[in-house]
Symmetry: C2
Subunit: 331 residues, 2 copies
């Protein structure tokens, strides 16, 4: 552990950081105070297909607009993909076809004169939760984002762990069933094949087909989708569960079991003090958390006074913007 403690946020109170969450559809901005409050927000469409140059021109314009009203000390951006954290170059972004190799850091710095950092979007989330959210004050934090894909980010010893190839934290592609189904990634039995959004929906539909006519007629999932299974989403499952639908609850319980298997392995390897669950699927809420906790308890026998909490994200959608705003000190 470093002998000298570094204060988490290095901004003088009168200075601000801009955090940017660059997605395939939208670019979200936040002007973040030294206390971790978002004092101004903006959102512009990515229009990714028109290429990175045009989009980044609009990003730069937005930063300049902020700079008229705030003293901006640093800019940070989170992007899905294998980001070169050191050079600030986007590599193989899944949602930004044609953007591979874009030197985002350089472009922003040259255009604005403000130091910029670029990192993976899930790394932004874990940093946000570590500095301002559910992992505040804890030196060892793991954050999972559950959605279409399943991502992970690591804070160990109070520092971001990016790995030798900028690819650390890929909990979604850890194997939970060695002989399980093929994953798009080329491996087999990955956590994502069981707890990714589309697989959850598929499982719910498969379960629905096994119901007898009486139970089927009572199913809230069936009612909410108006008997059009193609309309089923994890949000519908969430809503059905809140109203007590047994099949929806069973699907959530199963999802929690799978996620719990992945988290138990994370706990054995990293021994985090807090595991934070974020992303859209974390909207399953309490029943999901309960099932995760039960699996983790079964799989990670722990001693008394063991420091471990599994919590839902506190920052929700803001985690990425808040974390990215503080990348400078961490990558």
């Amino acid at each position: 552990m470093p002998k000298r403690e570094i204060p988490p946020v290095a901004l003088r109170p009168e200075r601000y950081a801009v955090g940017i969450d660059l997605g395939g559809t939208n670019i979200k901005f936040g002007v973040v105070s030294a206390a971790g409050k978002i004092v101004r927000r903006a959102r512009i469409p990515t229009l990714a297909a028109r290429g990175p140059k045009k989009a980044l021109r609009r990003v730069v314009a937005t930063i300049r607009r902020f700079a008229r009203d705030y003293e901006i000390a640093q800019v940070g951006m989170g992007v899905a993909g294998l980001i070169d954290h050191k050079l600030g170059i986007i590599r193989l972004p899944p949602n930004l076809p044609g953007w591979d190799g874009t030197p985002v850091k350089d472009i922003i710095e040259k255009a604005t004169g403000i130091p910029a950092s670029v990192g993976n979007d899930v790394n932004a989330c874990v940093l946000g939760e570590h500095l301002f959210g559910a992992g505040k004050g804890r030196r060892d934090v793991f954050c999972l984002t559950l959605g279409t894909g399943i991502g992970g980010g690591i804070i160990a010893n109070g520092r971001l762990v990016v790995g030798a190839n900028h690819a650390a934290g890929e909990v979604g592609h850890t194997t939970i069933f060695p002989d399980g189904q093929m994953c798009k990634c080329g491996s087999r039995g990955c956590l994502e094949c069981y707890a990714g959004a589309e697989y959850i929906v598929q499982r719910a539909l498969a379960l629905l087909r096994t119901l007898g006519p009486k139970l089927k007629s009572r199913s809230l999932i069936r009612r909410y989708t108006r008997n059009h299974p193609e309309n089923l989403t994890t949000k519908v499952i969430s809503r059905a569960a809140r109203h007590g639908d047994p099949l929806a609850l069973e699907v959530i319980r199963e999802t929690g079991y799978y996620v719990g298997l992945g988290i138990a392995n994370v706990i054995h390897l990293l021994d985090p003090e807090v595991v934070v669950i974020g992303g859209g699927i974390s909207g399953f809420g309490k029943p999901l958390l309960t099932a995760i906790q039960a699996t983790v308890d079964e799989r990670t026998p722990r001693f008394e006074d063991w420091r471990l909490e599994i919590r839902l994200s506190e920052l929700g959608d803001d985690a990425g913007v808040l974390g990215a705003s503080q990348f400078r000190r961490y990558i």
Copy 2:
């Protein structure tokens, strides 16, 4: 990543460090130069059952003996168990009954006046390999020790990761088969239940029983154990494999598959540049490494120029002493 690079070894050339590997049977010592060479060695019996006080008195006497001939700047000790790295207290040591709670750091410092650090034995190994061995010059290293138990140690960003409960790196208890056999730890399907020494031996015996009389009569394992299966050890399997025994090679291949499953998950989570395989079972050598590599390649689809090597330990039995000698700067 820290902006300021810290040189790995902080000793002035004329100063030395003492590394100690405290095992259930023996205590091994090394006087380590700033260049990472062991310039003097000692080994005394632990006599663990007589209690920690007597053993530590002999440890202190040995350190004092060294201090007559060398300027000793620091002492470090690696011990199996859940060590409080900060306070230097041994907790729940599996091989030292009655030693729970022993404040080893305090005892050594008070008696010798030399700064002492105490850490987990596998953390000592990974630090040794990182500073002086197969992981030299790499900032992200994972080390597995394969033996009766399976341990792991993590270097991330050039720093030791001990976790919130001093329990990080426990790759032996990550689940590889969720519905697998019960483990002594209370969980199920742990890597250790498939690749721990006694399970390897059991598997070899089970395979031996399935052989027809002709193949059985040719089995080197059967010959080396003189038809006494209770004499079978992993060393015998190793020897039989070196002489081409098909059953021994099959057992090693299977072991590599299991270890590979565990390592693949480590790679997804930590993205190390080097994975170092140590411990007695690493004596299986090349066939083990080949099987591990094949499984990892299947499970972790990687891009071109990906930085990852899986290597056998370079320091062997010395890793623990060498790493422990440098604990001071890392824990």
